[in-house]
Amino acid sequence: MMHISDRRLGIDLSAWLQNGSFSRAILITFFTLSHPGIGLSQFSGGGGLFDNTLNQALPRVAVPSNQNPAGGWPQPTSTASGFSGSNPRTFSNNGTFSNNSTFSNSNGPAFASGGTNVPRSGAGATNTSQLPKDWKFGVAVDPSQTGAIVRQVTPNSPAQRAGLKPNDIIIALGGVQVGYVENRLNDVGDQIRRSADNTGRVRALVLDSQSARLQNMDIQLDSASNALTGSIALRDRGSLPPNSIMTVQIENVTRPFYEVRNGKVITSAFGTGPFFYEIQYDPVYIDPRDRYQLNAIITDQTGRTLYALREPIPIPTGGLPPNSVLALDSFRDLQLAGQQAGGGTVTSAYGQDPAVLSQIFMQLLGRPPSTNEQVAWSGYLAQGNSIIDLKAKIIGSPSYYDRLGNNPQAFIQTMIRTLKGSPATQNEVNAWLNRLQQYQGNREQVAKEFMQQLR
């Protein structure tokens, strides 16, 4: 087994493991957390499991590779994982999204995909990875050391058409063993995504449960995703700086929190455009009772909005019109237009100005947000949550409470003083302490209610 640190400059706690009880303690702690019932004796042979545990939980952001002249870098796509399966809410053929509905400018440049920019003279480029597709196989499996044991086969599925039966064992897909391989789970879904060709064909090595013979099966999988493709133009014919971030996403208007799996593409972009995108969304997440819209925004690498749609594009029944181009306005123009109209807000610019978030963070927590927080908060606001929601959530956070000594009274006093701009009276403190109790200590709810009363 290749050791993780061999390939990652040795930066992990396994190095610490070699230092005796310190590392061992963490190993045991973490392992015990995740595997209650496993005795410490499991580790008597040495602490080699530690990095198998804690490291696995740590998030990994992709690290910028050598940036190419186009200013982008190959990225793992956002559409990496998940299962496909039948769902009663799968969108019908007559539904809002038509398969492969395209509204691109047919005269524009081709897709730049596979992590390779396609710079064009006087044009721009987007940088996307090879778009993965989700495929439907139609099996329920239990992973084992031998392979993936088929427990159930969905009627009229690719698996059934290929002749798979319960108790057959899928040994390999695309020549790569699935199930537990050297104590590592090689997931069938992952392997399908890696091995299937563009048309959804994959070769499986199967142990037939009845004949006990190995056989190769060429399986034609069903598509489990729908495509929405198009292009984006900059209305002011401006030019994007290198490393701009283009986000195009399908939004659920009825229930903004109900995100569509693979319904968003995030790519780096530069130049004058047009910029092409392809959303391979998972139709299982489309609810025919809900309304959807397409939104697009371009930010710089700190999250500051550069271009946005004046209004998101409603996705009508029957899909978007063909050969459409999404025209994005510069954020400066949008702000100006908003001010002239007396509104001052741009509904589609969900990226939010990072300066606003920083200001709120400084006011409430005395520090600017980390990039981590900035991204999460942008996502939160993109779901249609308000600045009041955002402030309430920060006020309700452990950090805010900790700054006040984890003391309910100090919390209420400070919350009132901060939000109202004047010191709290004793009556106010008592009243809101009661409210806090009624909300079972939910500080976010209290803050939200207080702000709503102030309006």
Partner: protein, 360 residues
Amino acid sequence: MRRSLTRHIQTYMLLLMAITSGLSQSGEQLLAQDSTPPVASEKTEASTVSFQSQGNHLQLMQLLQSIDPYLPSGDIEGKAVLSGSTTMVLLGQTWAQRFKLFHPKVEFARGIDGSDAALESLAKDPNVIAGISRNVTEDEIAALKAANCKDPVVIVVALDAMAVYVNAENPLRSLTPEQLQGVFGADAKGQPKIATWGQLGVQGDLANAKIRIHHRSEISGTRNFIQQSLLGGQPLSEPAETHKSNHDICQSIAKDPAGISLCGFGDRVDNTRTVALEIRGQVVDATDTNFLAGQYPMVRPLSLVFDRAQLSQDGGLRASIIKYILSRDGQREAILTGFFPLNPDFIRQELVQLTGTQTH
């Protein structure tokens, strides 16, 4: 049971492999910057590891994108009881509010506060979900099994990155595991194994000064983390000062040139700084970026404990709650509450552990 344990081990071992294969690319792209000798570290050959800051925004967006959104599985109703540590109760409230957007008929009740009480509560009532921000011991698991909780499972749901804080004037650059253990652990006589800054390689006025440890006043999750995870259950050395909050700790360290403590990443105040960890000669700064890249290892896992045997008894309520927490929205909420999300691959493996058979 044996099969279950074997599966657990297999699952966890395979996880490393999954990460390993997925991260080789990341590792190769690390910038091993020119060595800046730690001001006061004994090992001056250590090099600093950090990532290019450029592009973090995009990568973080994509990290969240690679976690599947929550997919409700039909109408769910019922009442869930969340008990646990203060930290976890707050996270639980946040998750509960969001979960109710998908499932308005579900009700949540706040159970007993505190990790100990939550586990006791789970032992009596296997319908409880206990949120724990400290280690769960084998004895506690055995006690759960001996009571009414027949198949207790601990699932990590978020991460709390921890950092060593010192006064901004303190020249200490980095700490090795042994040094950290020596500072915070006590010997048989209750004395710290490393008592002065000079023993950590610090020179100048501070060299002969006694290391002054700042802790939380009560048995907090942080304190428990230090004792159980860093010291392997060994006693803590006596603190110079105790405080009611992490913020108080950092404010005190800002005024104490000889102070040191362990707090969360977000607790830093002016006139304090974090100390990097030195691992195999590599100095890893306590930054969000390093943590999110999987390079910074000191983390306190936040977990939920529940009875898996009961999952089939409540119409899918608790399984759905856990799936939600491990979804994109649930992980984003963890960030908004001040913590870090889990690795998407890890999440998928935890879901396999939760659901067993996979559908493709």
